[in-house]
Amino acid sequence: MSAQSYRQLVIDGLWNNNQAMVALLGLCPLLAVTNTAINGLGLGLATLLVLTLSNVTVSIIRNWVRPEVRLPVFVIVIASFVTAVELSMNAWFYELYKILGIFIPLIVTNCAIIGRAEAFASKNAISRSLVDGLAMGSGFTLALVTLGAMRELLGMGTLFSQANLMFGEAAGGLTISLGDDFKGMLLAILPPGAFLGLGFLIALKNLIDKRLSHSRKAATHQAAANTELATG
């Protein structure tokens, strides 16, 4: 396996191999908690933290763990970090902790995390695993926040409501509202809204990819034509 550049790792994590929108991993928390942007951000950051820490740890111990027992070991590593994150959120972000509820301990079962441990961290050096964990986690967080913002905007007509849960009282002013006349579409907040929203998000990503590859193809064609002109 040829080593990818750090730049490529970051682009893969954020876009090309986005765990939520391309690999479609970790959909359970993705669909369940994204009814507001702040909830999405909270769970996204918790997942990012666990993913980075577990990637680094798995990479450190990769040469001592026998392949036969690697999966249980990965699960124990991930579970320890999730427990730590859960306890810290209980201590410092209690309100958010109550809203996210069962989905924080459920980060253990997020297949995106064990997927990265198995597919990347167990085969790569520590520094590369760290970058991969950060990039993949950020990509997942980005998808959670985008979906959460979409659903919150459609369903309640606000954006970043309850920002104070995460950033303290000073952030209460971050909340953007479309005004009281906006009648929220309740369906967007309910589970069907999550599925529809994710579907549209993936469609949008595919559309952008298609446009990009079209313009890239056009650019290479243009370049080829230019060289032909120059040589001919």
Binding site: M185, L186, L187, L190, P192, L196
Partner: protein, 347 residues
Amino acid sequence: MRFPLISSPHSERPNSVTQTMLWVILTLVPGSLAMTWYFGWGIPIHIALATLTAIASEGVVLKLRGRRMAPALNDLSAVVTALLFALAIPPLLPWWLTVLGTAFAIIVVKQLYGGIGYNPFNPAMAGYVLLLVSYPVEMTAWLPPEMLNHNPLDLEQTLAAIFGSTLPAGLSWDAITMATPLDQMRTQLDLNIMISEIRQSPLWGDFGGQGWEWVGNWFLLGGLVLLFKRIISWHIPLSMLGALLVFSMLFHFLDQEAYPFGLFHIFSGGTLLGAFFIATDPVTACTTKKGQLLFGASIGIITYVIRTWGGYPDAVAFAVLLMNMAAPTIDYYTQPRVFGHGERGND
């Protein structure tokens, strides 16, 4: 002498999508006129609005998908969807909700799955359920039927109510709207009022609510024409109405004061419209005869269960969508035996 030989089929029936859809539209006319008579100008306004939205959305999506527009727009299926949707919503619904529901029905439920013939769910009912779940207050504010309506709105006032949310001076929304008979029955039964007491109100006719049951009759008439023209088969309507009737009569005889008479369920809400026009949608219903019987009966039973114990007063739309989901599986298990192949593997 030479006799021309003509191979079978010897008698043909109009079988194009356009003609089927045209017949569905024609047979919906009596019911639509009756609804206009009882509930006022809101009905034709919403029909026009929904039809325009449906055709526009269909055109836009077809263009985006790079398909030819003419065949898909000429088959009239978008018009049927719009018509069924408009007949299901309250007459004074704000205009943007009609536009939202119809556009969702055509764009997401029909075209994103591949257009006519590919959609797993009935578009009109999915659009209706989207609105019912998202905007319950607006979607349950019905008008009283013409004979009970003390403040009927004329055309201009109806337009102002739908497009501007403004009512004539001195009237409030609470004063001119009321719950549907199904809703009233359900609310009062929940308060432990006996049915004989509930039915003292002038709201009630012979079986269902005044006006409502007559609308049902006209839909029944249109449905019978469709049956007679062999555009739909009897399996789905009969099994759906039969199952609903059997179930409701069973509970009615257990406790006559707590469970309404069976015909109340037949002539209330969307039962007759649903049985003949919505559940029979050839794309989303079962195709095998045995499957159709099971499909219809399940819709009838689910409708009764949700109406009696569920969270919503009417349930035809939910029942149809739930069974749409089950239709492929039902079809899979009810495929008729191929002639010449034994059931016990002696083929």
